[in-house]
């Protein structure tokens, strides 16, 4: 009778097979097992069989690991010798891999940070922001708004199905005064529910008691330190003066931790919104959209199910007003946006709390991070296979001595991983050194605490390993596929078999690099264009002083004549807003002949005498606000050309026309040329400037002499301080505030520039390495050519030709992609550069010249070698 040994045991034993004898041994065991069963019973036989497993396993393990380790030691030794032997080659690889990994980590850190916004709140997956589409409103190119009426949030907080908590908050800016310390501070006013929706860490106090008294204020640690130093801030009072309310003394009733950097919430203090003067009206009035509304859903609620209920809640209230009642198509639509997505997905939404990023830039940066890593990997592959000649004999000897293909693959993969491991160390050093600079570049605060975090190390080591394996994959496949006989018969020429692939790798490397160069140039040119283009108003040497104390504006006339008498102050005017920051828009305008359904959205600002002159805006028709006019007649308007055009007036017709805004009668006295009060992302829009004595807050505009700037500022500061000793005075230059509009683009441009240079350096290093090896193989050929009379330039041409052809081809490939990427980016600008051939020719020239210089380093050396040197070995 036939007996089979236990399956598992048999399986293990069969795995242990390490030589020929084993094949029959296993048969022996099975036969003996049958014999044992017949003799001593199944249990004894099984015991015996298992004993065999135990006996043979250790020896097999030792065999495998011992010899595996021995081989690995050998790989290490060979890799070490190769690194030593070819120092420049090793440097290129390690440098390339290190820089690649470091770039990847830095960009990765930034991306992870950007993606982490507001995911730290408890139940962050249930926190949503309500955004509203107003079909009849278009503001800055979008009809989506992040602000809603306060009663909406109040109604939802009150047992609304599917909603656990609902809060509304709004930004508050206020002048703080504690003793002699006076500063403007930024905070929010909100309700108690705020603390249920968002996770705020309390150091002292708690929400309920902090909000018991309307005259209370919650401050964060930074403010506590700023105003109270090390003292306990609780119960201390702060003189609190905000624009919209009567100044009051507030008592500190809570101390909270500073918010982390990755949140859309940006505030230093919180005040109860019911303490505000207009709370009564605000909390019941459905037509004032000024609150950020956030809700925390009940677990298991689908946010989409809530949207119709939102409309049901708000529509009856809105329809009561004829504005909506007569045209229900103007009713708003709602969308719930996860709080964790607000930071990156709000670029098309008007009014957002905190800094808004752009998911597009995240994608772009991710691509750049990977591209640089890939370029570094490609370098390694290229150089490793180009050197296959010098390693082929080694592979041949290993194979003849019994190495399997898998052993050779293992060896070359291990070698690449060794290189990338050294690269990791280099990358860490780079990241460590560059972290502060990078933080400044992307305007985020990364500090060295990141080096203590596990994910950082996982990413560092993980990326190093993956890069090593990818880099080693092709060399491993290629080298292990070499046939020993062909190796020893010298039938393998220096990497001849894989030349096609290597060329493709070089082409793709340079194509990618060139796309980066094109993108950088386009951004640089566009930014240059933004700064140099005539925006229709002068920005140079214009000092803007932000006035917040009404007292100053009460003495405006005196101040104006004082400043104008100074030789260093050329002109003086003022406005409610800076000329590049006019954002107030109204459709409450009408004129004679306006159509029934005609809607005109007009941006508007209040300005003072000499505004147009100071900013150098061209007057097309009529006159400006100047000292000649009768200052008693307020409600004089100046409109811009676009506005006249949209009303279908010629500038001349417009002058003298009656015009009504907010049911106030006014007269158009002048038409000015368009100027870019919106950023260059937007095309020209209608603008209306009203003359009005500005009594509260204002921007004082001073055209100053570039000489003696310091003294002028000191003088202005002194004069304003005389009038308002308790208010801080803030200065800015108009060109700086103008550039602030393009912060995102400037940042992207800077990042892109740096990483383009890095990519170019890595790609050139690779090209240099490759050129070196290719030329070493041609030294004899060059020697013979020189002996036969070729001159230096002929040889240089010969040597450089191949590489230039490759780079040239890559440039051609890169043009359509580069064009697509660049024109897509430019699309966001209404005012933009033409994407002409110039950009591509310029970038191609850069790439070609750099490639040529790189290759020439080596080719000149090769071409100048004395033929006696290169040929004496024959």
């Amino acid at each position: 009778m036939k007996h089979r040994p236990p399956k598992l045991a048999e399986k293990i034993l069969s795995k242990l097979q390490y030589d020929d004898i084993w094949k029959t041994t296993l048969g022996d065991f099975e036969e003996y097992y049958s014999y044992k069963v017949n003799k001593g019973g199944k249990a004894a036989a099984n015991r015996w069989y298992w004993r065999q497993v135990l006996r043979y396993t250790p020896s097999k393990l030792i065999h495998t690991y011992y010899w595996g380790l021995e081989m690995f030691k050998n790989y290490l030794k060979i890799a070490y010798r190769n690194i030593q032997k070819n120092k420049s080659y090793s440097f290129i690889n390690i440098f390339g891999l290190g820089v690649g990994i470091a770039s990847f980590l830095l960009i990765g850190m930034y991306i992870v940070h950007e993606l982490s916004y507001d995911s730290y709140h408890e139940d962050s997956d249930r926190i949503y922001r309500i955004v509203r589409e107003a079909p009849d409103e278009v503001y800055l190119g979008s009809s989506w708004f992040g602000v809603n009426p306060m009663p909406l949030s109040i109604a939802m907080a009150d047992g609304f199905e599917g909603v656990e908590h609902s809060t509304a908050f709004n930004e508050s800016e206020a002048l703080f005064r504690v003793g002699q310390n006076t500063f403007y501070e930024y905070g929010i006013n909100t309700d108690l529910e705020f603390f249920e929706v968002f996770s705020i860490n309390w150091i002292m106090g708690d929400p309920a008691s902090a909000f018991r008294n309307p005259e209370s204020i919650i401050i964060n640690q930074s403010l506590a330190a700023k105003y109270f130093g090390k003292e306990n801030p609780m119960g201390k009072s702060v003189f609190f003066n905000s624009e919209e309310d009567e100044p009051i003394e507030r008592v500190v009733t809570g101390l909270i931790e500073d918010l982390p950097t990755n949140t859309q919430l940006e505030f230093d203090f919180i005040i109860p919104n019911f303490s505000k003067d207009d709370y009564e009206r605000e909390s019941t009035y459905w037509f004032n959209n000024n609150q950020y509304s956030y809700i925390k859903l009940a677990p298991g609620t689908n946010p989409n199910d809530l949207v119709p209920q939102l409309s049901e809640l708000i529509n009856p209230n809105l329809l009561a007003d004829p504005y909506y009642g007569n045209s229900p198509e103007k009713l708003p639509n709602f969308k719930l946006m996860p709080a964790s997505e607000v930071h990156l997905s709000s670029s098309d939404i008007n009014f957002n709390p905190g800094k808004i990023g752009d998911i597009k830039y995240i994608y772009m940066l991710s691509v750049i991070a990977f591209v640089i890593l890939i370029i570094a990997c490609v370098n390694y592959m290229n150089l490793a296979t180009a050197r296959s000649m010098s390693r082929a004999k080694e592979v041949g000897v290993r194979k003849v001595n019994g190495a399997f293909r898998s052993n050779i693959m293992m060896q070359f993969s291990a070698e690449a991983v060794i290189f990338s491991s050294i690269g990791i160390i280099f990358a860490f050093a780079l990241v460590y050194m560059l972290l502060p600079a990078f933080s400044g570049l992307v305007d985020r605060s990364f500090d060295t605490s990141i080096f203590l975090s596990t994910p950082f190390w996982l990413a560092l080591i993980g990326s190093g390993l993956i890069v090593g394996l990818i880099s080693g994959s092709y060399p491993a496949l290629y080298m292990s596929g070499l046939h020993p006989i062909r190796i020893f018969k010298n039938q393998i020429k220096g990497g001849s078999g894989n030349r096609r692939l290597r060329n493709m790798l070089v082409i793709s490397q340079f194509a990618i690099t060139n796309i980066l160069i094109v993108s950088s140039i386009v951004i640089i040119k566009q930014m240059d264009y933004i700064q140099s283009r005539d925006s229709g108003f002068e920005r140079d040497q214009i000092l803007a002083v932000t006035i917040t104390d009404p007292e100053v504006m009460n003495h405006y006339a005196a101040l104006e004549s004082l400043f104008e008498s100074q030789s260093n102050i050329l002109e003086v005017s003022s406005a409610r807003k800076l000329p590049s920051e006019i954002r107030s828009q109204t459709s409450g305008v009408s004129w004679e002949g306006k159509g029934e359904d005609e809607i005109l959205r007009v941006y508007h600002d209040r300005v003072n005498i000499d505004y147009v002159e100071l900013l150098g805006i061209d007057l097309i028709a009529g006159r400006t606000f100047n000292h000649d006019m009768d200052t008693d007649t307020s409600n004089h308007l100046i409109i811009n050309k676009t506005m006249a055009q949209q009303i279908e007036w010629t500038p001349e017709e417009a002058v003298g026309k009656d015009f009504t805004f907010w049911r106030r009668d006014a007269k158009i006295i002048g038409v000015i040329d368009d100027f870019n009060f919106l950023s260059y992302h937007f095309s020209m829009a209608p603008l209306m400037l009203r003359y009005e004595n500005i009594v509260d807050r204002a921007e004082l505009l001073l055209k100053v002499n570039p000489q003696n700037m310091q003294e002028t500022i000191a003088f202005v500061d002194n004069e304003i301080k005389k009038l308002s000793p308790n208010y801080p005075v803030e200065y800015a230059f108009l060109d700086d505030t103008f550039n602030n509009l393009y912060q995102n683009e400037l940042t992207l441009g800077k990042i892109l520039n740096y990483f383009t240079v890095l990519a170019l350096i890595i790609a050139c290093l690779g090209l240099f390495g490759l050129a070196s090896f290719m030329m070493e193989q041609r030294t004899k050929e060059i020697g013979i050519r020189k002996v036969l009379g070729a001159n230096l330039f002929q040889i240089l041409g010969l040597l450089n030709k191949d590489f230039i052809r490759l780079v040239g081809l890559s440039l051609i490939i890169s043009v359509p992609v580069g064009w697509y990427v660049a024109s897509n980016w430019l699309k966001d600008f209404a005012f933009r550069i033409d994407l002409g051939a110039g950009v591509f020719i310029f970038s191609a020239a850069i790439a070609l010249i750099i490639a040529l210089i790189t290759v020439s380093f080596k080719s000149v050396q090769t071409a100048r070698t004395n033929p006696v040197e290169s040929l004496k070995g024959e």
Binding site: K2, I21, K23, T24, T25, G27, D28, E30, S34
Partner: protein, 108 residues
């Protein structure tokens, strides 16, 4: 010529006696039979391998059989050198035992 160990001698003899059936299991059985002891399989693999390396044995793979789970047997046979080694061992045995009185063991 190097002298065989006792185990090697037994194994070579077993292989010779078993002829066409000389593979590990019957060899083991034969040794059990001769010496009246339990030999482990491992105990005979090593000498078999050593003897083959020294050229006293050669082995061929035979057809597979069902009771072995379809696996091959390794059949051993003596080489001329193996026979020579056995003959030498026998001679040494003869020489060393000659003159020892048979009565010493009471076998007379």
């Amino acid at each position: 010529m190097k002298l065989l160990t006792r185990t090697e001698e037994f194994i070579l003899l077993a292989v010779w006696k078993l002829q066409d059936d000389a593979y590990s299991i019957p060899i083991q059985e034969k040794l059990n039979e001769i010496t009246d002891k339990d030999w482990s399989l491992g105990g005979i693999y090593m000498p078999l391998e050593r003897l083959e390396k020294r050229g006293y044995l050669k082995s061929t793979l035979s057809e597979s059989t069902p009771e072995r789970g379809g696996r091959h047997k390794r059949i051993y046979s003596l080489t001329p050198a193996g026979k020579e080694a056995l003959r030498y061992a026998y001679e040494v045995q003869q020489t060393i035992w000659s003159g020892v009185p048979q009565l010493m063991f009471g076998l007379g």
